[in-house]
C-alpha cells in the first residue's frame, strides 16, 4: 500500500511528526477502530479518527438523532433529527474524508453480537452511557484480548483509561454494575457539552497512539478531570487479583448484560 500524492498532502501535518511519518500514516490507514455509541463521546472521536485517516471505522448504535443530542453530539446536525445515528455519522465521515471505510451497525451492542463484532477491529472505543454495556464491552475485550478505551462523563467531570491485554480492566476498578438509579447518567443529571469533546478526543488520541505504537497509553491509570477547576489527575490503578473477569479465579466466563432492569425491558 502506498499513499497517493493527494494523501501525502492531506496528512502532511501527521507526516511531519517524527513519531508518525509516512510509515505511521500507513499504519493509520490500515487501522480499524470500532466506536460503540455514536453519542457525546463517539461523535468527537469519530470526527478526529476520520480526519486522521483511520482506514476502517465501525460504528454501532441503534438510536436515531434526537434534538437533545445536538448540544454535544457534534457529528449530528439539526437536519439529522430522526435519522439513525450510524447513518448521520457515516455521512459526515464521508464528507470529511472519503479515504475512510465506515461500517455501520444499526443495532445495540449485546452479548450475542459482541465477540463477533469486536474481533474485526484493532481498538475499541467505549462511548456508551449505560453501565451494563460498559461492563459488557470490558468483558468482551478482556476475553478476546482486545485493546479498548473506557470513557465516562457527568456534569463537569470526565474519566478515562485504556486497557490492553494484561493491564487493569474496568472490573479491576469497579467489580460490578452499580445498582440502578444510584449513579445518575447524563440524561438524568446533565453534562456540559464540551466535556464530551474533551473526553472523546482523549479516547481518539489513545486509539491513534495504539495504532502507531507510540508514547505511553493510559494503562494502569485512571485519568479524572473536573472542568470547573480544570484539574486533571491520574490515579494509578493495579490489575486486581480478585477481579471477576481478569483475576486469578474469574467468576465471569461468558458474556451477559448484567442489570436486571434491562432484561425486564427487553421482553416488553
Amino acid at each position: 500500500m502506498d499513499l497517493t500524492e493527494q494523501q501525502i498532502e492531506r496528512y502532511s501535518r501527521h507526516i511531519l511528526l517524527q513519531q508518525v511519518g509516512y510509515e505511521g500514516q500507513l499504519k493509520i490507514a490500515q487501522g480499524k477502530v470500532l466506536i460503540i455509541g455514536a453519542g457525546g463521546l463517539g461523535a468527537p472521536a469519530a470526527l478526529y479518527l476520520a480526519a486522521a485517516g483511520v482506514g476502517t471505522i465501525g460504528i454501532i448504535d441503534a438510536d436515531v438523532v434526537d434534538i437533545t443530542n445536538l448540544q454535544r453530539q457534534v457529528i449530528h446536525h439539526t437536519p439529522d433529527i430522526g435519522v439513525p445515528k450510524v447513518t448521520s455519522a457515516a455521512n459526515k465521515i464521508a464528507e470529511i474524508n472519503p479515504d475512510v471505510r465506515v461500517i455501520q451497525y444499526h443495532s445495540w451492542f449485546n452479548p450475542d453480537n459482541a465477540l463477533q463484532i469486536i474481533s474485526d477491529y484493532d481498538f475499541i472505543i467505549d462511548g456508551t452511557d449505560n453501565f451494563p454495556t460498559k461492563f459488557l464491552i470490558n468483558d468482551a475485550c478482556v476475553m478476546v484480548g482486545k485493546a479498548f478505551s473506557h470513557g465516562g462523563i457527568l456534569r463537569f467531570e470526565g474519566q478515562t483509561f485504556t486497557h490492553i491485554p494484561g493491564t487493569a480492566c474496568y472490573r479491576c476498578i469497579f467489580p460490578k454494575v452499580p445498582p440502578k438509579n444510584l449513579v445518575p447518567t447524563c440524561s438524568q443529571a446533565g453534562v456540559l457539552g464540551s466535556i464530551a469533546g474533551m473526553l472523546g478526543t482523549i479516547q481518539a488520541t489513545e486509539a491513534l497512539k495504539y495504532i502507531l505504537g507510540i508514547g505511553d497509553l493510559l494503562t494502569n491509570k485512571l485519568l479524572v478531570f473536573n472542568a470547573l477547576n480544570m484539574q486533571f489527575r491520574t490515579v494509578p490503578v493495579k490489575k486486581n487479583d480478585n477481579c471477576p473477569v481478569c483475576g486469578t479465579n474469574p467468576s465471569i466466563t461468558e458474556l451477559v448484560m448484567e442489570e436486571q432492569a434491562v432484561c425486564e425491558l427487553k421482553t416488553k
Binding site: 463521546l41 456508551t128 476498578i173
Partner: protein
C-alpha cells in the same frame, strides 16, 4: 489525623478509624457508588467497615461515570 484523599492533603479533627468512617466524613452517599484504593490497593466493598485507616495513608475515591450516548433498551 492526616490523610491524603484524592491527591489532597486533609486534616481530620474527628477520629477516622475505618474506610466506612471516611466515606461518611466525605459525604459519599452510598458505598456502592465508589471504589476505594488505600495506598494503591483496592479495598473490597465488604471490607469498608473493617479496613483501618492509618495516619499518612493515601486514599483514592473512584466514582462511576457514564458516557455520551443515552441508553434506550426499548428496541433491543
Amino acid at each position: 489525623m492526616k490523610i491524603t484523599v484524592n491527591g489532597e492533603a486533609k486534616q481530620y479533627e474527628q477520629a477516622v478509624v475505618t474506610v466506612a468512617d471516611l466515606l461518611v466524613l466525605e459525604q459519599v452517599a452510598s458505598p456502592e457508588m465508589v471504589s476505594v484504593q488505600q495506598n494503591g490497593d483496592f479495598v473490597a466493598t465488604e471490607q469498608f467497615e473493617t479496613t483501618l485507616i492509618h495516619d499518612g495513608d493515601e486514599i483514592d475515591f473512584l466514582f462511576f461515570m457514564g458516557g455520551g450516548s443515552i441508553p434506550d433498551f426499548s428496541n433491543i
